[in-house]
Protein backbone atom coordinates (compact mmCIF):
# COMPACT_ATOMS: atom_id res chain seq x y z
CA UNK A 1 0.00 0.00 0.00
CA UNK A 2 1.11 3.55 -0.69
CA UNK A 3 2.19 5.69 2.23
CA UNK A 4 -0.79 7.15 4.08
CA UNK A 5 0.65 10.64 3.71
CA UNK A 6 0.47 10.27 -0.07
CA UNK A 7 -3.31 9.97 0.03
CA UNK A 8 -5.36 13.02 -0.79
CA UNK A 9 -7.90 14.20 1.74
CA UNK A 10 -10.72 12.59 -0.26
CA UNK A 11 -8.83 9.30 -0.54
CA UNK A 12 -7.99 9.27 3.16
CA UNK A 13 -11.64 9.84 4.00
CA UNK A 14 -12.64 6.88 1.81
CA UNK A 15 -9.94 4.72 3.43
CA UNK A 16 -11.08 5.63 6.93
CA UNK A 17 -14.71 4.90 6.08
CA UNK A 18 -13.72 1.53 4.58
CA UNK A 19 -11.64 0.87 7.75
CA UNK A 20 -8.49 0.24 5.69
CA UNK A 21 -6.53 2.10 8.36
CA UNK A 22 -7.37 3.89 11.57
CA UNK A 23 -7.39 7.60 12.41
CA UNK A 24 -4.53 7.01 14.86
CA UNK A 25 -2.44 5.31 12.18
CA UNK A 26 -3.03 8.20 9.79
CA UNK A 27 -2.33 10.79 12.48
CA UNK A 28 0.87 9.05 13.62
CA UNK A 29 2.19 9.01 10.06
CA UNK A 30 1.55 12.73 9.82
CA UNK A 31 3.25 13.39 13.15
CA UNK A 32 6.30 11.49 11.87
CA UNK A 33 6.14 13.49 8.63
CA UNK A 34 5.97 16.70 10.63
CA UNK A 35 9.21 15.75 12.42
CA UNK A 36 10.89 14.79 9.16
CA UNK A 37 9.98 18.11 7.55
CA UNK A 38 11.12 20.39 10.39
CA UNK A 39 13.90 21.76 8.20
CA UNK A 40 11.28 23.53 6.08
CA UNK A 41 10.22 25.65 9.07
CA UNK A 42 6.59 25.22 8.04
CA UNK A 43 5.15 24.73 11.53
CA UNK A 44 5.48 27.31 14.31
CA UNK A 45 3.74 25.10 16.88
CA UNK A 46 3.25 21.33 16.74
CA UNK A 47 0.35 19.84 18.68
CA UNK A 48 0.80 16.05 18.39
CA UNK A 49 -0.83 15.33 21.79
CA UNK A 50 -3.96 17.25 20.84
CA UNK A 51 -4.05 15.48 17.49
CA UNK A 52 -3.73 12.01 19.01
CA UNK A 53 -6.36 12.76 21.63
CA UNK A 54 -8.80 13.93 18.96
CA UNK A 55 -7.88 10.89 16.86
CA UNK A 56 -9.13 8.60 19.66
CA UNK A 57 -12.51 10.34 19.66
CA UNK A 58 -12.71 10.09 15.87
CA UNK A 59 -11.98 6.39 16.05
CA UNK A 60 -14.87 5.86 18.44
CA UNK A 61 -17.11 7.72 16.01
CA UNK A 62 -16.05 5.53 13.10
CA UNK A 63 -16.63 2.47 15.26
CA UNK A 64 -20.12 3.71 16.17
CA UNK A 65 -20.93 4.73 12.60
CA UNK A 66 -21.52 8.37 13.47
CA UNK A 67 -18.51 9.88 11.73
CA UNK A 68 -18.75 13.56 10.76
CA UNK A 69 -17.83 14.93 7.28
CA UNK A 70 -14.12 15.46 8.06
CA UNK A 71 -13.76 12.81 10.74
CA UNK A 72 -10.13 12.17 11.66
CA UNK A 73 -8.42 14.31 9.01
CA UNK A 74 -5.16 15.87 10.31
CA UNK A 75 -4.97 19.51 9.18
CA UNK A 76 -2.42 22.28 9.53
CA UNK A 77 -3.79 25.66 10.60
CA UNK A 78 -2.29 28.95 9.46
CA UNK A 79 -1.11 30.81 12.54
CA UNK A 80 -3.47 33.69 11.76
CA UNK A 81 -6.43 31.69 13.09
CA UNK A 82 -6.99 32.00 16.82
CA UNK A 83 -6.93 28.55 18.40
CA UNK A 84 -8.09 28.22 21.99
CA UNK A 85 -5.20 27.57 24.36
CA UNK A 86 -2.66 27.17 21.52
CA UNK A 87 -0.19 29.97 20.87
CA UNK A 88 -1.35 32.26 18.04
CA UNK A 89 1.12 34.94 16.96
CA UNK A 90 0.41 35.88 13.32
CA UNK A 91 4.18 35.27 13.18
CA UNK A 92 4.83 38.61 14.85
CA UNK A 93 7.01 39.30 17.87
CA UNK A 94 4.28 41.56 19.16
CA UNK A 95 2.04 38.52 19.77
CA UNK A 96 4.65 36.02 20.97
CA UNK A 97 3.16 33.92 23.74
CA UNK A 98 -0.44 34.94 23.01
CA UNK A 99 -2.82 32.11 23.83
CA UNK A 100 -6.35 32.94 22.72
CA UNK A 101 -9.15 32.14 25.13
CA UNK A 102 -11.46 31.52 22.18
CA UNK A 103 -11.53 29.65 18.87
CA UNK A 104 -11.96 31.21 15.43
CA UNK A 105 -15.29 30.39 13.79
CA UNK A 106 -13.70 28.72 10.75
CA UNK A 107 -11.48 26.40 12.80
CA UNK A 108 -14.41 25.65 15.12
CA UNK A 109 -16.43 24.68 12.02
CA UNK A 110 -13.63 22.29 11.04
CA UNK A 111 -13.43 20.70 14.50
CA UNK A 112 -17.23 20.41 14.63
CA UNK A 113 -16.99 18.42 11.40
CA UNK A 114 -14.40 16.07 12.93
CA UNK A 115 -11.06 17.39 11.62
CA UNK A 116 -8.07 17.47 13.96
CA UNK A 117 -5.15 19.87 14.28
CA UNK A 118 -1.49 18.91 13.74
CA UNK A 119 -0.19 22.37 14.54
CA UNK A 120 0.07 26.01 13.55
CA UNK A 121 1.67 27.06 10.29
CA UNK A 122 4.17 29.79 9.52
CA UNK A 123 3.20 32.88 7.50
CA UNK A 124 4.44 36.33 6.62
CA UNK A 125 4.09 38.59 9.65
CA UNK A 126 0.40 39.56 9.90
CA UNK A 127 0.02 37.98 6.42
CA UNK A 128 1.88 40.90 4.86
CA UNK A 129 4.09 39.41 2.20
CA UNK A 130 4.34 37.21 -0.87
CA UNK A 131 7.31 35.06 0.12
CA UNK A 132 6.99 34.12 3.81
CA UNK A 133 10.28 35.90 4.51
CA UNK A 134 8.78 38.53 6.82
CA UNK A 135 7.84 35.98 9.52
CA UNK A 136 9.25 36.52 13.02
CA UNK A 137 9.90 32.75 13.04
CA UNK A 138 12.13 32.99 9.97
CA UNK A 139 11.40 32.08 6.36
CA UNK A 140 9.69 28.90 5.23
CA UNK A 141 11.71 26.87 2.73
CA UNK A 142 9.85 25.41 -0.22
CA UNK A 143 10.13 21.64 -0.65
CA UNK A 144 10.57 22.42 -4.36
CA UNK A 145 14.04 23.14 -5.75
CA UNK A 146 13.71 22.87 -9.51
CA UNK A 147 15.71 20.72 -11.86
CA UNK A 148 18.64 22.99 -12.59
CA UNK A 149 21.59 21.39 -10.71
CA UNK A 150 23.16 24.82 -10.33
CA UNK A 151 20.15 25.73 -8.24
CA UNK A 152 20.25 22.65 -6.05
CA UNK A 153 21.44 24.67 -3.08
CA UNK A 154 19.25 27.66 -3.81
CA UNK A 155 16.49 27.80 -1.25
CA UNK A 156 13.19 28.81 -2.82
CA UNK A 157 10.28 30.63 -1.24
CA UNK A 158 6.96 28.75 -0.97
CA UNK A 159 5.17 32.02 -1.71
CA UNK A 160 3.14 33.90 0.83
CA UNK A 161 1.62 34.82 2.98
CA UNK A 162 0.29 31.27 3.55
CA UNK A 163 3.79 29.87 2.95
CA UNK A 164 3.80 27.40 5.84
CA UNK A 165 0.43 26.03 4.70
CA UNK A 166 1.68 25.55 1.13
CA UNK A 167 5.01 23.99 2.15
CA UNK A 168 3.36 21.59 4.62
CA UNK A 169 0.67 20.31 2.24
CA UNK A 170 3.13 20.06 -0.64
CA UNK A 171 5.76 18.22 1.44
CA UNK A 172 3.06 15.89 2.78
CA UNK A 173 3.29 16.89 6.43
CA UNK A 174 -0.36 18.01 6.50
CA UNK A 175 -3.18 16.45 4.54
CA UNK A 176 -4.51 19.94 3.83
CA UNK A 177 -4.28 23.34 5.47
CA UNK A 178 -6.19 26.52 6.04
CA UNK A 179 -4.97 29.76 4.50
CA UNK A 180 -6.13 33.33 4.32
CA UNK A 181 -6.06 35.58 1.28
CA UNK A 182 -6.00 39.38 1.31
CA UNK A 183 -4.26 39.96 -2.02
CA UNK A 184 -3.28 36.47 -3.18
CA UNK A 185 -2.01 34.80 0.00
CA UNK A 186 -3.78 31.50 -0.70
CA UNK A 187 -3.52 31.39 -4.49
CA UNK A 188 0.10 32.49 -5.05
CA UNK A 189 1.68 30.02 -2.55
CA UNK A 190 -0.58 27.26 -3.95
CA UNK A 191 0.73 28.09 -7.43
CA UNK A 192 4.37 28.11 -6.28
CA UNK A 193 4.08 24.69 -4.64
CA UNK A 194 1.89 22.74 -7.08
CA UNK A 195 -1.29 22.86 -4.99
CA UNK A 196 -4.90 23.96 -5.23
CA UNK A 197 -6.03 27.00 -3.27
CA UNK A 198 -9.35 28.79 -3.28
CA UNK A 199 -10.21 32.22 -1.97
CA UNK A 200 -13.98 32.24 -1.72
CA UNK A 201 -16.24 35.23 -2.26
CA UNK A 202 -15.90 37.93 0.39
CA UNK A 203 -18.46 37.07 3.08
CA UNK A 204 -18.46 33.31 2.39
CA UNK A 205 -16.30 32.41 5.40
CA UNK A 206 -16.46 34.11 8.76
CA UNK A 207 -13.49 36.32 9.63
CA UNK A 208 -14.26 36.10 13.35
CA UNK A 209 -11.22 34.99 15.33
CA UNK A 210 -8.83 35.39 12.41
CA UNK A 211 -6.18 38.03 13.15
CA UNK A 212 -7.33 40.96 11.02
CA UNK A 213 -5.09 42.45 8.32
CA UNK A 214 -7.34 44.34 5.87
CA UNK A 215 -10.94 43.66 6.83
CA UNK A 216 -12.58 44.50 3.49
CA UNK A 217 -10.25 42.09 1.65
CA UNK A 218 -9.43 39.21 4.04
CA UNK A 219 -11.01 35.82 3.35
CA UNK A 220 -10.33 32.33 4.66
CA UNK A 221 -9.94 29.34 2.36
CA UNK A 222 -8.29 25.93 1.99
CA UNK A 223 -4.97 24.87 0.45
CA UNK A 224 -5.17 21.28 -0.77
CA UNK A 225 -3.65 18.72 -3.12
CA UNK A 226 -6.55 18.67 -5.56
CA UNK A 227 -9.79 20.41 -6.46
CA UNK A 228 -12.05 17.84 -4.81
CA UNK A 229 -10.20 18.25 -1.49
CA UNK A 230 -10.71 22.01 -1.75
CA UNK A 231 -14.43 21.46 -2.34
CA UNK A 232 -14.68 19.15 0.69
CA UNK A 233 -12.88 21.54 3.04
CA UNK A 234 -14.53 24.73 1.82
CA UNK A 235 -17.95 23.28 2.50
CA UNK A 236 -17.05 22.86 6.17
CA UNK A 237 -15.22 26.18 6.50
CA UNK A 238 -17.92 28.34 4.90
CA UNK A 239 -21.18 29.52 6.37
CA UNK A 240 -22.96 32.41 7.99
CA UNK A 241 -21.71 33.61 11.36
CA UNK A 242 -23.59 36.21 13.41
CA UNK A 243 -20.25 37.21 14.97
CA UNK A 244 -18.99 38.58 11.63
CA UNK A 245 -21.38 41.23 10.32
CA UNK A 246 -19.95 40.86 6.79
CA UNK A 247 -20.50 37.12 6.69
CA UNK A 248 -23.34 36.40 4.32
CA UNK A 249 -26.58 34.62 5.15
CA UNK A 250 -26.65 32.16 2.27
CA UNK A 251 -26.85 28.40 2.31
CA UNK A 252 -23.53 26.66 1.60
CA UNK A 253 -23.89 24.48 -1.49
CA UNK A 254 -22.54 20.96 -1.75
CA UNK A 255 -19.29 21.86 -3.50
CA UNK A 256 -18.32 18.25 -4.19
CA UNK A 257 -21.62 17.68 -6.00
CA UNK A 258 -20.86 20.84 -7.99
CA UNK A 259 -17.84 19.10 -9.50
CA UNK A 260 -20.16 16.84 -11.48
CA UNK A 261 -20.98 17.64 -15.07
CA UNK A 262 -19.11 19.11 -17.98
CA UNK A 263 -18.42 22.63 -19.13
CA UNK A 264 -20.00 22.40 -22.59
CA UNK A 265 -21.10 25.85 -23.75
CA UNK A 266 -19.57 27.61 -20.76
CA UNK A 267 -17.91 30.91 -21.71
CA UNK A 268 -14.35 31.40 -20.45
CA UNK A 269 -13.08 34.98 -20.52
CA UNK A 270 -9.45 35.84 -21.31
CA UNK A 271 -8.62 39.37 -20.14
CA UNK A 272 -6.21 41.05 -22.52
CA UNK A 273 -4.87 43.37 -19.81
CA UNK A 274 -3.29 40.41 -18.01
CA UNK A 275 -0.62 40.16 -20.72
CA UNK A 276 1.60 42.38 -18.63
CA UNK A 277 4.93 43.79 -19.65
CA UNK A 278 7.88 41.63 -18.68
CA UNK A 279 5.83 38.47 -18.15
CA UNK A 280 7.93 35.46 -19.18
CA UNK A 281 6.98 33.93 -22.52
CA UNK A 282 6.47 30.56 -20.88
CA UNK A 283 3.76 31.91 -18.59
CA UNK A 284 1.91 33.28 -21.59
CA UNK A 285 2.09 30.06 -23.59
CA UNK A 286 1.13 28.09 -20.49
CA UNK A 287 -1.94 30.31 -20.12
CA UNK A 288 -2.84 29.73 -23.79
CA UNK A 289 -2.46 26.00 -23.27
CA UNK A 290 -4.91 26.19 -20.36
CA UNK A 291 -7.46 28.01 -22.54
CA UNK A 292 -7.01 25.37 -25.24
CA UNK A 293 -7.70 22.58 -22.74
CA UNK A 294 -10.95 24.24 -21.69
CA UNK A 295 -11.92 24.77 -25.32
CA UNK A 296 -11.31 21.10 -26.04
CA UNK A 297 -13.55 20.26 -23.08
CA UNK A 298 -16.37 22.17 -24.78
CA UNK A 299 -16.01 25.68 -23.40
CA UNK A 300 -16.17 28.77 -25.54
CA UNK A 301 -13.19 31.13 -25.23
CA UNK A 302 -14.09 34.81 -25.32
CA UNK A 303 -11.87 37.88 -25.20
CA UNK A 304 -12.73 40.27 -22.42
CA UNK A 305 -11.36 43.54 -21.15
CA UNK A 306 -10.63 44.59 -17.56
CA UNK A 307 -9.35 48.09 -18.35
CA UNK A 308 -8.44 49.20 -14.80
CA UNK A 309 -6.25 46.17 -14.05
CA UNK A 310 -3.02 48.19 -14.10
CA UNK A 311 -4.23 50.33 -11.19
CA UNK A 312 -5.16 47.42 -8.92
CA UNK A 313 -1.83 47.25 -7.07
CA UNK A 314 -1.72 50.97 -6.37
CA UNK A 315 -5.30 50.81 -5.06
CA UNK A 316 -4.40 47.81 -2.94
CA UNK A 317 -1.38 49.55 -1.42
CA UNK A 318 -3.62 52.31 -0.17
CA UNK A 319 -6.65 50.30 0.95
CA UNK A 320 -4.80 47.40 2.61
CA UNK A 321 -2.30 49.52 4.60
CA UNK A 322 -5.09 51.93 5.60
CA UNK A 323 -7.17 49.11 7.03
CA UNK A 324 -4.09 47.47 8.54
CA UNK A 325 -3.00 50.65 10.31
CA UNK A 326 -6.41 50.78 11.91
CA UNK A 327 -6.63 47.04 12.73
CA UNK A 328 -3.12 46.89 14.16
CA UNK A 329 -3.72 49.86 16.45
CA UNK A 330 -4.82 47.31 19.07
CA UNK A 331 -1.24 46.08 19.56
CA UNK A 332 -0.18 48.62 22.13
CA UNK A 333 1.42 46.56 24.88
CA UNK A 334 -1.52 46.99 27.25
CA UNK A 335 -3.99 44.15 26.83
CA UNK A 336 -1.97 41.31 25.29
CA UNK A 337 1.32 40.48 23.68
CA UNK A 338 4.64 42.22 23.99
CA UNK A 339 5.19 45.21 26.28
CA UNK A 340 8.34 47.29 26.08
CA UNK A 341 8.47 49.77 28.98
CA UNK A 342 8.87 53.50 28.48
CA UNK A 343 8.56 56.74 30.35
CA UNK A 344 4.81 57.23 30.36
CA UNK A 345 2.12 55.56 28.31
CA UNK A 346 2.95 57.23 24.98
CA UNK A 347 6.53 55.99 25.09
CA UNK A 348 5.33 52.52 26.13
CA UNK A 349 3.15 52.39 23.01
CA UNK A 350 5.91 53.67 20.74
CA UNK A 351 8.60 51.37 22.11
CA UNK A 352 6.35 48.32 22.07
CA UNK A 353 5.27 48.89 18.48
CA UNK A 354 8.78 49.72 17.27
CA UNK A 355 10.19 46.52 18.72
CA UNK A 356 7.19 44.26 18.20
CA UNK A 357 6.50 44.90 14.51
CA UNK A 358 8.87 43.85 11.74
CA UNK A 359 10.06 46.13 8.96
CA UNK A 360 7.36 45.38 6.37
CA UNK A 361 4.56 45.70 8.91
CA UNK A 362 5.95 49.02 10.19
CA UNK A 363 6.21 50.27 6.62
CA UNK A 364 2.60 49.39 5.86
CA UNK A 365 1.29 50.91 9.09
CA UNK A 366 3.11 54.13 8.26
CA UNK A 367 1.67 54.21 4.72
CA UNK A 368 -1.79 53.50 6.08
CA UNK A 369 -1.49 56.18 8.75
CA UNK A 370 -0.35 58.67 6.15
CA UNK A 371 -3.14 58.02 3.62
CA UNK A 372 -5.76 58.28 6.36
CA UNK A 373 -4.33 61.37 8.01
CA UNK A 374 -6.05 64.76 7.92
CA UNK A 375 -5.51 66.50 4.60
CA UNK A 376 -4.60 63.36 2.65
CA UNK A 377 -7.67 61.19 3.21
CA UNK A 378 -9.56 62.40 0.12
CA UNK A 379 -6.54 62.47 -2.16
CA UNK A 380 -5.47 58.93 -1.35
CA UNK A 381 -8.02 56.82 0.46
CA UNK A 382 -11.19 58.10 -1.20
CA UNK A 383 -9.47 58.18 -4.58
CA UNK A 384 -8.38 54.56 -4.14
CA UNK A 385 -11.91 53.48 -3.18
CA UNK A 386 -13.21 55.18 -6.32
CA UNK A 387 -10.73 53.40 -8.58
CA UNK A 388 -11.57 50.21 -6.67
CA UNK A 389 -15.21 50.75 -7.69
CA UNK A 390 -14.02 50.95 -11.34
CA UNK A 391 -12.14 47.65 -10.94
CA UNK A 392 -15.21 45.95 -9.46
CA UNK A 393 -17.31 47.44 -12.29
CA UNK A 394 -14.87 46.02 -14.89
CA UNK A 395 -15.53 42.54 -13.56
CA UNK A 396 -19.32 42.89 -13.54
CA UNK A 397 -19.17 44.13 -17.15
CA UNK A 398 -16.92 41.21 -18.10
CA UNK A 399 -19.27 38.69 -16.49
CA UNK A 400 -21.97 39.75 -18.95
CA UNK A 401 -19.83 38.19 -21.66
CA UNK A 402 -18.40 35.19 -19.83
CA UNK A 403 -19.10 32.78 -16.95
CA UNK A 404 -15.60 32.39 -15.59
CA UNK A 405 -12.24 34.10 -16.19
CA UNK A 406 -8.93 32.32 -16.80
CA UNK A 407 -5.58 33.97 -15.98
CA UNK A 408 -2.15 32.93 -14.75
CA UNK A 409 -1.94 33.01 -10.93
CA UNK A 410 1.44 34.75 -10.73
CA UNK A 411 3.73 36.42 -13.25
CA UNK A 412 6.62 34.01 -12.52
CA UNK A 413 7.47 30.70 -10.88
CA UNK A 414 8.93 30.58 -7.34
CA UNK A 415 11.97 32.75 -6.64
CA UNK A 416 14.82 32.26 -4.18
CA UNK A 417 14.93 33.47 -0.60
CA UNK A 418 16.71 36.82 -0.69
CA UNK A 419 15.53 37.80 -4.18
CA UNK A 420 13.24 40.81 -4.71
CA UNK A 421 13.96 42.05 -1.20
CA UNK A 422 15.72 45.24 -2.23
CA UNK A 423 12.58 46.95 -3.55
CA UNK A 424 9.14 46.57 -1.94
CA UNK A 425 7.30 47.42 -5.17
CA UNK A 426 9.09 44.63 -7.03
CA UNK A 427 7.89 42.17 -4.39
CA UNK A 428 4.35 43.53 -4.52
CA UNK A 429 4.18 43.00 -8.31
CA UNK A 430 3.97 39.29 -7.61
CA UNK A 431 0.32 39.75 -6.70
CA UNK A 432 -0.66 41.60 -9.84
CA UNK A 433 -3.10 38.88 -11.04
CA UNK A 434 -4.57 38.02 -7.66
CA UNK A 435 -5.09 41.46 -6.04
CA UNK A 436 -7.92 42.61 -8.38
CA UNK A 437 -9.98 39.59 -7.29
CA UNK A 438 -9.81 40.64 -3.63
CA UNK A 439 -10.60 44.25 -4.48
CA UNK A 440 -13.79 43.07 -6.20
CA UNK A 441 -14.56 40.44 -3.52
CA UNK A 442 -14.81 37.60 -6.07
CA UNK A 443 -13.99 33.89 -5.71
CA UNK A 444 -10.64 32.86 -7.18
CA UNK A 445 -9.02 29.44 -7.43
CA UNK A 446 -5.46 28.53 -8.34
CA UNK A 447 -4.58 25.09 -9.57
CA UNK A 448 -1.32 23.58 -10.77
CA UNK A 449 -1.32 22.94 -14.49
CA UNK A 450 2.31 22.28 -15.37
CA UNK A 451 5.99 22.86 -14.68
CA UNK A 452 8.16 25.75 -15.82
CA UNK A 453 11.34 25.19 -17.85
CA UNK A 454 13.12 25.27 -14.49
CA UNK A 455 11.00 22.39 -13.21
CA UNK A 456 8.84 24.46 -10.86
CA UNK A 457 5.04 24.43 -10.62
CA UNK A 458 2.98 27.03 -12.43
CA UNK A 459 -0.59 27.86 -11.50
CA UNK A 460 -3.63 29.00 -13.43
CA UNK A 461 -6.31 31.10 -11.81
CA UNK A 462 -10.06 30.86 -12.33
CA UNK A 463 -12.18 33.82 -11.25
CA UNK A 464 -15.94 33.53 -10.81
CA UNK A 465 -19.01 35.63 -10.21
CA UNK A 466 -19.82 36.48 -6.59
CA UNK A 467 -20.85 33.32 -4.68
CA UNK A 468 -20.34 31.15 -7.75
CA UNK A 469 -17.62 28.98 -6.24
CA UNK A 470 -19.48 26.04 -7.79
CA UNK A 471 -18.63 27.04 -11.38
CA UNK A 472 -15.07 27.92 -10.39
CA UNK A 473 -14.61 24.49 -8.80
CA UNK A 474 -16.27 22.64 -11.68
CA UNK A 475 -14.08 24.33 -14.30
CA UNK A 476 -11.12 23.75 -12.00
CA UNK A 477 -11.90 20.05 -11.89
CA UNK A 478 -12.08 19.86 -15.70
CA UNK A 479 -8.80 21.75 -16.10
CA UNK A 480 -7.18 19.57 -13.45
CA UNK A 481 -8.07 16.35 -15.32
CA UNK A 482 -6.93 17.81 -18.63
CA UNK A 483 -3.62 19.09 -17.26
CA UNK A 484 -2.90 15.91 -15.30
CA UNK A 485 -0.38 17.57 -12.97
CA UNK A 486 1.26 14.79 -10.94
CA UNK A 487 4.69 16.18 -10.04
CA UNK A 488 5.88 15.86 -6.46
CA UNK A 489 8.41 18.15 -4.79
CA UNK A 490 11.93 16.65 -4.58
CA UNK A 491 11.69 16.80 -0.81
CA UNK A 492 8.64 15.30 0.88
CA UNK A 493 7.74 13.02 3.74
Amino acid sequence: MAKLTDLSLGEALDGLKAKKFSVTELTKEYIAAQEKCRGLNAYTVETPELALKAAKESETRYANNNARPLEGLPLGIKDLYCTKGVETTACSNILKGFKPTYESTVTQNLWNDGALMLGKLNLDEFAMGSSNITSAFGPVISPWSGKDPANANRKLVPGGSSGGSAAAVSARCAIAATGTDTGGSIRQPAAFTGLVGIKPTYGRCSRWGIVAFASSLDQAGPITRNVKDAAILLRSMAGHDPKDSTSVKRAVPDYVAALQGGIGGLRVGIPKEYRVEGMPKEIESFWEKGAKMLEEAGAEIVDISLPHTKYALAVYYIVAPAEASSNLARYDGVRFGLRVPGKGIQELYENTRAEGFGKEVRRRILIGTYVLSAGYYDAYYIKAQKVRACIAQDFSQAFKKCDVILTPTAPSDAFAIGEKEDDPIKMWLNDIFTVPVNLAGLPGLSLPAGLSAGGLPLGLQLIGRPFDEETVLRVGGVLESAAGFKALPPFHA
Binding site: G333, R339, E350, Y370, C390
Partner: protein, 95 residues
Protein backbone atom coordinates in the same frame (compact mmCIF):
# COMPACT_ATOMS: atom_id res chain seq x y z
CA UNK B 1 4.11 66.02 -2.36
CA UNK B 2 7.38 64.82 -0.99
CA UNK B 3 7.68 62.89 2.22
CA UNK B 4 10.52 64.55 4.09
CA UNK B 5 12.01 63.68 7.45
CA UNK B 6 9.66 66.01 9.31
CA UNK B 7 6.63 64.30 7.76
CA UNK B 8 8.07 60.88 8.62
CA UNK B 9 8.33 61.99 12.24
CA UNK B 10 4.74 63.20 12.19
CA UNK B 11 3.40 59.98 10.64
CA UNK B 12 5.44 57.85 13.05
CA UNK B 13 4.08 59.79 15.97
CA UNK B 14 0.49 59.39 14.72
CA UNK B 15 1.12 55.66 14.27
CA UNK B 16 2.70 55.43 17.74
CA UNK B 17 5.82 53.77 16.37
CA UNK B 18 9.21 55.03 17.51
CA UNK B 19 11.47 55.57 14.50
CA UNK B 20 15.15 56.15 15.35
CA UNK B 21 16.56 59.39 13.94
CA UNK B 22 19.08 57.57 11.74
CA UNK B 23 16.32 55.59 9.97
CA UNK B 24 14.22 58.61 9.04
CA UNK B 25 16.22 59.55 5.96
CA UNK B 26 15.95 56.06 4.36
CA UNK B 27 12.32 55.77 5.36
CA UNK B 28 11.42 59.13 3.84
CA UNK B 29 12.99 58.10 0.51
CA UNK B 30 11.25 54.76 0.59
CA UNK B 31 7.82 56.15 1.43
CA UNK B 32 8.25 58.94 -1.07
CA UNK B 33 8.98 56.49 -3.85
CA UNK B 34 6.00 54.33 -2.90
CA UNK B 35 3.64 57.30 -2.82
CA UNK B 36 5.07 58.44 -6.15
CA UNK B 37 4.24 55.06 -7.63
CA UNK B 38 0.74 55.24 -6.13
CA UNK B 39 0.09 58.66 -7.69
CA UNK B 40 -0.54 56.89 -11.02
CA UNK B 41 -4.12 56.67 -9.73
CA UNK B 42 -4.53 60.32 -10.67
CA UNK B 43 -4.62 59.22 -14.32
CA UNK B 44 -8.06 57.69 -13.72
CA UNK B 45 -10.99 60.02 -14.16
CA UNK B 46 -13.25 59.27 -11.19
CA UNK B 47 -15.31 62.45 -11.22
CA UNK B 48 -18.52 60.44 -11.71
CA UNK B 49 -17.63 57.45 -9.55
CA UNK B 50 -18.81 56.89 -5.99
CA UNK B 51 -16.17 55.37 -3.70
CA UNK B 52 -16.71 51.69 -3.03
CA UNK B 53 -17.77 51.04 0.54
CA UNK B 54 -18.48 47.30 0.46
CA UNK B 55 -18.10 44.52 -2.08
CA UNK B 56 -21.08 42.67 -0.64
CA UNK B 57 -24.34 44.23 -1.70
CA UNK B 58 -26.21 43.71 1.52
CA UNK B 59 -27.27 45.94 4.35
CA UNK B 60 -25.63 45.31 7.68
CA UNK B 61 -27.76 43.03 9.82
CA UNK B 62 -29.51 44.36 12.89
CA UNK B 63 -29.82 42.47 16.13
CA UNK B 64 -31.48 42.99 19.44
CA UNK B 65 -29.56 45.40 21.67
CA UNK B 66 -28.75 42.81 24.30
CA UNK B 67 -25.54 41.56 25.89
CA UNK B 68 -24.49 38.32 24.18
CA UNK B 69 -21.11 37.86 25.81
CA UNK B 70 -19.44 39.03 28.99
CA UNK B 71 -18.72 38.28 32.64
CA UNK B 72 -15.38 36.90 31.60
CA UNK B 73 -12.81 39.19 33.21
CA UNK B 74 -10.45 36.28 33.68
CA UNK B 75 -10.45 35.46 29.97
CA UNK B 76 -10.07 39.11 29.00
CA UNK B 77 -7.06 39.53 31.29
CA UNK B 78 -5.51 36.13 30.56
CA UNK B 79 -2.92 37.55 28.15
CA UNK B 80 -2.29 40.91 29.84
CA UNK B 81 1.38 41.85 30.14
CA UNK B 82 0.55 43.32 33.55
CA UNK B 83 -2.66 43.12 35.57
CA UNK B 84 -3.78 43.70 39.13
CA UNK B 85 -7.08 43.25 40.92
CA UNK B 86 -8.98 42.64 37.69
CA UNK B 87 -7.50 45.62 35.83
CA UNK B 88 -4.89 46.21 33.13
CA UNK B 89 -1.93 48.07 34.59
CA UNK B 90 -0.28 50.91 32.65
CA UNK B 91 2.20 53.63 33.61
CA UNK B 92 0.68 56.61 35.36
CA UNK B 93 -1.26 58.70 32.81
CA UNK B 94 -2.48 61.70 34.86
CA UNK B 95 0.07 63.69 36.80
Amino acid sequence: MTIDKALVSRIASLARIRVPEEEKETLSKELDSIMGWISQLNEVDTSNVAPLTSVVETALPMREDKVTDGNNAEGVLANAPKEAAGFFVVPKVVE
